[in-house]
């Protein structure tokens, strides 16, 4: 298994500023809606079973992506809402904020979706999500014991992600 040290991951992680956990949850989905990873650090209110929660989250983002693409005032595409998007078309949204939390989203062209829910004052987390995507590549994709499309059960990956998220300002 490839080890982490020595490989230059881009971008380099932001220096840890605050202590304590700022993030609430992290989800990683693949293109078929399978929840590859769900990490929870601070979630006082739970209303749904984990399966329902994952489905809700995936469905929410799928619809949001579609909606934001259709409402794009700069695009010339006049397709109907609900028509599946070809990859490459449409703009991509990256976060939404409420008065109690901020949800940051990143989707790779291969369909891996990363969702990080943090407190509302968090800044732009796009680089952090990219860094977590790099971690996913190093620890999960390159792991010969991992079959693509199944939930991740690599302890080292979980620990590294926990450590990284803890350092996010």
């Amino acid at each position: 298994m490839q080890f982490f040290g020595g490989t230059e991951i881009s971008p380099s992680p932001p220096a840890p500023t605050a202590s304590g956990n700022n993030a609430h949850m992290l989800y990683i989905f693949n293109r078929n809606g399978v929840a590859l990873l769900y990490r929870e650090w601070n979630r006082p209110l739970k209303t749904l079973s984990p399966q329902q929660d994952h489905k809700l989250m995936f469905g929410l983002l799928f619809s949001l992506k579609s909606l934001t693409a259709k409402m794009d005032p700069t695009s010339a595409d006049k397709g109907n809402l609900g028509v599946p998007q070809l990859p490459g078309q449409g703009c991509s949204f990256h976060s939404f904020r409420t008065n109690t939390y901020k949800l940051s989203f990143m989707e790779s062209p291969s369909g891996i979706k990363l969702i990080l829910v943090t407190h509302p004052k968090t800044g732009d987390l796009r680089d952090s999500l990219k860094y977590i995507y790099n971690l996913y590549v190093e620890y999960v994709v390159k792991n010969p014991l991992y079959s693509p499309g199944t939930p991740i059960s690599c302890e080292l990956f979980n620990k590294t992600v926990d450590q990284y998220v803890r350092g996010l300002g």
Partner: protein, 186 residues
Amino acid sequence: MAPAAPKSGDAIFASVDRVNAELFTLTYGAIVRQLLTDLEEVEEVNKQLDQMGYNMGVRLVDEFLAKSNVTRCVDFRETTEVIAKVGFKMFLGVTASVTNWDSEGTTCSLILEDNPLVDFVELPDNCQGLHYCNILSGVVRGALEMVSMKTEVAWLRDMLRGDDVFELQVKLLKQVPEEYPYKDDE
């Protein structure tokens, strides 16, 4: 803060871990030899190499996307350019060129003049049907499938059979848009 701009192939190649080129070539050669001994039929070996490449491509695409920072390609032309210039450079250390576009823009050829897999290799007479580099066609097919493009990839010219370059034909069959995976009543 704006996302970082895509890196060029050379920059990424310099930053990833590399192995000795001879080790790579000889290891690949050993794999092909072992497959020939195990499977005996040249066609079976071709298929197995393609399948191995496919499994590799499915994982390799995430590493490529993470390290190279490319945004979504708008069309197939841009995709093949990125594969030839950034992808091949990053993983094999050589760039390919893209030519022979057909009129609809769905088929093209990737030309490789220099291929690290075939250094020191000569095909013996009883293996003339072997596509020695078939793993590459599997990798391209697997990687493109993970970005929603179903393709057919085949070798047109092969230096081990006497041609002057390696020519890999990539044909786009269809783009598969993302479908909502859950049934509505669940």
